[in-house]
């Protein structure tokens, strides 16, 4: 069992590592990830939301839908723990 697990782990790791060869060099400001969408956030977010912390702007507004569900995830976790563990009062 442990051997299989180790093998699976190694294979997964090898695949992941091998594919990093196609990535842009680390820290490259011209990598696709840095020039497509994110630069617009950096340039426009202050103008469009008046929030200097770009992360907060994206979190709260551009991707606010994600964040809403993130809150709901936390809320659900609380509910799940109550449901699983808490004993109802007599």
């Amino acid at each position: 069992m442990k051997k299989i697990a180790l093998l699976a782990t190694l294979i997964t790791g090898a695949i992941l590592l091998y594919s990093t060869k196609d990535f842009a060099p680390w820290g490259d400001p011209h990598s696709p990830a840095s020039v497509h969408v994110s630069n617009v956030y950096i340039e426009k977010s202050v103008e469009q939301t008046h929030v200097p912390n770009i992360v907060t702007a994206i979190l709260g507004d551009y991707r606010g839908y994600d964040t809403m569900f993130e809150t709901v995830v936390i809320f659900s976790a609380g509910m799940a723990v109550i449901g699983v563990l808490r004993r109802p009062k007599e």
Partner: protein
Amino acid sequence: MISQNLHMFVLAAPLLSGILVNLLGRLSRRWISVLTLGSLGFSTVGAFFVLLRVLAKGSFHYTVGNWTPPYGIELLVDPLSALMLLLVSGVAFLASLSALKSVDQELPGKQHVFFTMYLILVAGLLGLVLTADAFNLYVLLEITSINTYGLIAMGKGRAPLASFNYIIMGSIGACFYLLGVGYLYILTGTLNMADIASRLPAQGGTAAVATAFAFILVGLCVKMAFFPLHGWLPNAYSLAPSGAGVMIAPLMTKVTVYLMARVFFVMYAPWQSTGHQGVHPLVVWAASAAIIAASALALSQKNLRRMLTYIIVAEVGYMVGGIWLANAQAITGALLHIVNDSLMTLCLFLAASAIVYRRGSLDFNHLGGLYRSMPLTMAAFTVGAFSMIGVPPTAGFFSKWYLILGGIEGGHWEFVVALLVSSLVNAVLFFRIIEFGYFPTGEQAHGHGHGELAVQEAPLQMVQPLILVAVALIAVGLGSGWIVNDIIRLVVPGNF
């Protein structure tokens, strides 16, 4: 504006009322049923109008927060997602009728917690159906998972252990998916599925893209319990409280399959058609193996609900195989089967839940004389069973028809054989149940008649949805020509 936002209200209704159930449900039991049924009923009706609107005016893109697509999170409302919206909310509505009853019996004092999670889970599923953003999909996947973990772990006995295994497997799936999305993001710089798809062909056939898709698809396969990765499902679904099982079993895997179809159509197929060797035959073979293996495992079960869970695993093989056969017939079949299988599973699980309510157990040797004591439940069960076997005019026949035709067209005879074998196995499985239910067990059969076995039907609130689903199964079967022509054909991409 209302009509433009209607699908958002469909989603928001269970979400808001889920939270409200937690606030108000602890005050009075009445609030729970009012809020649950009210919101899900509203969603069902709303989803119906969304479907009508989409059919009349064509599909549309919706951006949350009014940002232009790659910047905000995009939602896609096309005929298929509208249909899924209707399916999810409708199934959840029917299931909740039964769940309200069985939760009272199984989890007294925790109803409000249960239904909070239940409604948020429905909202998560509705969100999954709509989303067109790769990362948003991850978040919603986690919402549905976390609520499912909770709901399953509320069961008795071994349920927490099953749920724990599910957590481990589910997290692996989610992490893989996240890794895949990360790889795509690093290559394209965007998270919007359509945008990714438009930028991927420029990447060519690099190993990184292949890895990204491999991880995304494996992640989804874990979540949908595709055969070798199915280990968590049977325990989790069979040990869950029946109120949770009736909703989770029909919807979770099916919605994940739908997501896989989305990923496949929107991102994978366009990239793959730019001239890279596909892995389609491999997946179809795997699906065929999955169908056969899961059917064989189902044969060895001694408990009705466990048997059904293995059938779910087999059905996942149907749909995955259908999608990866990648011809119009098979994809039509797979998408139609998503709808049909949800309804069939719902029907069977509702029946199982009703039986548990009266008999307390689903072991085969406790099923004797059911046709006598619970005739309506068993009539509906029979319809569901026939649909699983694929007897016309129930819905299950028609999706199987398209799937097999797709297999013939694609020259994948192993898939055709697997489908036929699984139909036969299903016939054996369900007739065993029908036989158990039809013949009285030892002590019930005294002499000739067994008139002393009184009719003891489950409460009306559990039987009603069951009858409705059984009727729906036949109606969907008869209307499958319409569903295929007017809805599914519209969304099968043109290049298939």
